[in-house]
Symmetry: C2
Subunit: 117 residues, 2 copies
DNA sequence: TAAATATAAAACCATTTGGTTTCATTTCAA
DNA sequence: TTGAAATGAAACCAAATGGTTTTATATTTA
């Protein structure tokens, strides 16, 4: 499974691809149906779908002459996890505590110390 | 201010840039100090910092002959918000409830004509 | 069966990306 | 004060990106 050529961070970097994901969140759709929502060619959309598919964010099944694409949001958890590290910085209320408890309070208080051994 | 040329999704798409952010999460660092952690040139790192800076994820202040870069994680909230839409799909336990409460229960039930459960 | 629909695949293209090397400038330190 | 350190800036490069157009193939449908 899991084609690794395109990772999820790269897949969601493009705004068109993010819109495609949003469309598929409501409904599975054929390539042409997706294309109808954008000002670019069907071929371009097909390429975006291919990239999303390599990141395992969508999959396509053939149905007659159509190819129906479906959302698979699971790989987004990787982004969520990555992001969770930074939550300590913006939710100062409880996340600092959480961070301190989970890790060590050390790196919250050391300034810039020149060398990072 | 806020240069909009590079958005945050694009900024975090590159793994080197994600590592740079992680380094800066512990400490502010000069360009050379950052470079020491990577196999690529100082110039390449400087370009990555420029892109991160355009996304307002870092800022640099001159200190003598050094330029010290600092993390500004706030723009990551945009990613978090984008992602929150998809939480309804993976955490079915409480996120559906959360989604319903925060937004309206409307969009839970509107679109999905065909599939999905 | 013939025309229309839906997609696939390939060739092509301009721009962006992620690097490099080289040279200039500023600042620190011996 | 002279050299090393840190950065900036520019020129260059190969590969990837995000598009296009063209051609071919399979599937409906009139």
């Amino acid at each position: 499974m899991s084609a690794a050529k395109h990772d999820v961070f790269q897949a969601i970097a493009d705004p068109t691809r993010r819109e495609v994901l949003r469309l598929l969140a409501s409904n599975e759709l054929a390539i042409s149906e997706i294309t109808a929502h954008f000002p670019i060619s069907r071929t371009a959309i097909a390429k975006h779908l291919h990239i999303l598919s390599e990141a395992n964010l969508v999959s396509g099944k053939k149905a007659g002459r159509e190819k129906i694409y479906q959302l698979h949001p699971e790989p987004l958890t990787e982004v969520k996890q990555w992001l969770s590290y930074y939550e300590q910085f913006w939710d100062n209320k409880l996340s600092i505590l959480k961070h301190v408890v989970e890790n060590d309070n050390e790196d919250r208080f050391k300034g810039r110390k020149k060398d990072q051994e």
